[in-house]
Amino acid sequence: MSDIAKKQAEWQPKIIAFLCNWCSYAGADLAGVSRYQYPPSLRIVRVPCSGRVSANMILDALRSGADGVLVSGCHPGDCHYISGNYYARRRFAVLKRFLEFVGIEPDRVNFSWISASEGEQFAEVATEVTERVKKLGPARHLVKEF
């Protein structure tokens, strides 16, 4: 393996994960307790509901140097606040397309539904998102140098 390829393989992206307290955060916990392996690239921010996550927050993560973002909430129908994730689903669908429109790579910003019992799925998603972001390389477009 060449030096560059090695470096690339070793590079761990920084991914900000906004996880809903009631499902995905507990799912992440379960993944840990059950000792499922996943890359150490996620920085978790616990939020009360996926509906709490605004476009401002996602962009703030990117601006602060995140290579990727994951927002994860309860499955539709399971939101602790009944409908938070239904509203969030519309907002994120539109936001994701919009960010792609202005030239942000589709795989940088990701969304998922993971319940409290889905530890394995959490590990899978964490691995998948990390792989996708790794392929893209470090984020540059919206990163502010302080």
Partner: protein
């Protein structure tokens, strides 16, 4: 012979005068001409005499809905936060509305910024407004001292300049792709309703960009906003931007830096446009207000296109349809959700 706009002006003055004289409204919002050709000035008439200053032409580019929330508030008796609302009907405001402006009023009513019963809306089916920057481009940015309008042409004059321009060549981009010229709510109409326009290439400007590669899109976006001076005229001209504290002014957290550093300018434009998702009527006020000629309207047009594609609704078409992003359906599309698309792959 009088032109269509002259006839509208006459009728507008009459209607506004009558509304003010009879005491039905306390103020009437329209346009008057300013000191520069091709720049019209929003104008609030408060006495019957002042209505003689009202004017209507192809340069009424700023959305008058923008002035309603503050104007209505200013007409209420003063009260402290927590005081009970005043009793009895509050003073009303008369306002001119084209298709898009009326749709912005619908949005404002739905968002509780404006009360329908306090508005008397004079509807005008729009023929489209002229882009002053396009006119200046056609005359080589020469000094223009007067512009005389006919129904289909403009006579532009200045020192050593006399040029006739076809009005339809210099129509604003948003007006050229507008399909709803008729007001959706009004109390009186001036002229007739025109009906929906059929337009094959309504989203052409957006599609051209969608078809580019990711990298090319980023380059387009950054070069488009490159000259932005962050004056926020685009935000101030927009009837959706009534937030007491805009995100650009927040300091904890500070979502966006205040300088014209490219990253901050990009974030400003992304968030400003996104805040208008599902609410923007493509009135073009933002773009017309920009001193730098930035075409930031394409961003909100993209959002309008996606919302229509995904949820089948457009902002402000009727008071009874909730705004697309403040409602949901159980089976809204979710193929963008990673866990859903992975499920699909596994199957």
């Amino acid at each position: 012979m009088t032109t269509a706009n002259e006839r509208i002006t006459q009728e507008l003055r009459q209607r506004a005068r009558q509304l003010l004289e009879s005491g039905q409204v306390a103020a009437f919002v329209g346009y008057t001409s300013g000191s520069m050709p091709m720049v019209m000035q929003p104008f609030v008439a408060r006495t019957p005499e002042e209505t003689d200053r009202l004017e209507w032409n192809s340069f009424c580019v700023l959305n008058l809905a923008n002035y309603l929330p503050a104007l209505l508030k200013s007409l209420e008796p003063p009260r402290r936060p927590g005081d009970p609302p005043p009793e009895g009907p509050l003073p009303k405001v008369g306002v001119v509305a084209t298709g898009c402006w009326s749709r912005n009023m619908v949005v404002q009513i739905q968002e509780n910024q404006v009360q329908r019963e306090r508005l008397v809306i004079i509807g005008i089916s729009s023929r489209g407004m002229v882009d002053r920057k396009k006119v200046l481009g056609l005359v080589g940015h020469a000094d223009v001292t007067s512009v005389k309008e006919d129904d289909n042409s403009l006579l532009v004059k200045g020192p050593g300049l006399e040029q006739e321009i076809n009005r339809w060549d210099v129509i604003r981009d948003n007006c050229a792709c507008c399909v709803h010229p008729d007001p959706v709510i009004f109390d009186h109409m001036i002229g007739d309703l025109k009906g929906e326009r059929k337009l094959g290439e309504r989203f052409k400007q957006v599609e051209e960009i969608e078809n580019m590669s990711v990298q090319a899109r980023w380059e387009w976006f950054t070069s488009e906003i490159d000259s932005c001076i962050r004056c926020y005229a685009c935000r101030n001209a927009c009837p959706l931007c009534y937030c007491p504290t805009c995100f650009v002014d927040d300091s904890r957290p500070q979502w966006v830096g205040k300088s014209i550093e490219p990253v901050d300018t990009a974030i400003f434009h992304i968030i400003r446009a996104y805040h208008c998702a599902g609410r923007c009527t493509d009135c073009g006020s933002c773009e017309s207000a920009c001193p730098m000629g930035i075409r930031m309207r394409i961003l909100t047009k993209k959002l309008q296109k996606d919302v229509l594609e995904l949820y089948g609704t457009e902002a402000g078409m009727s008071l009874d349809t909730p705004l697309p992003l403040s409602t949901y359906k159980l089976d809204d599309p979710q193929d963008f959700v990673l866990t859903e698309s992975l499920k699909g792959e596994k199957k």
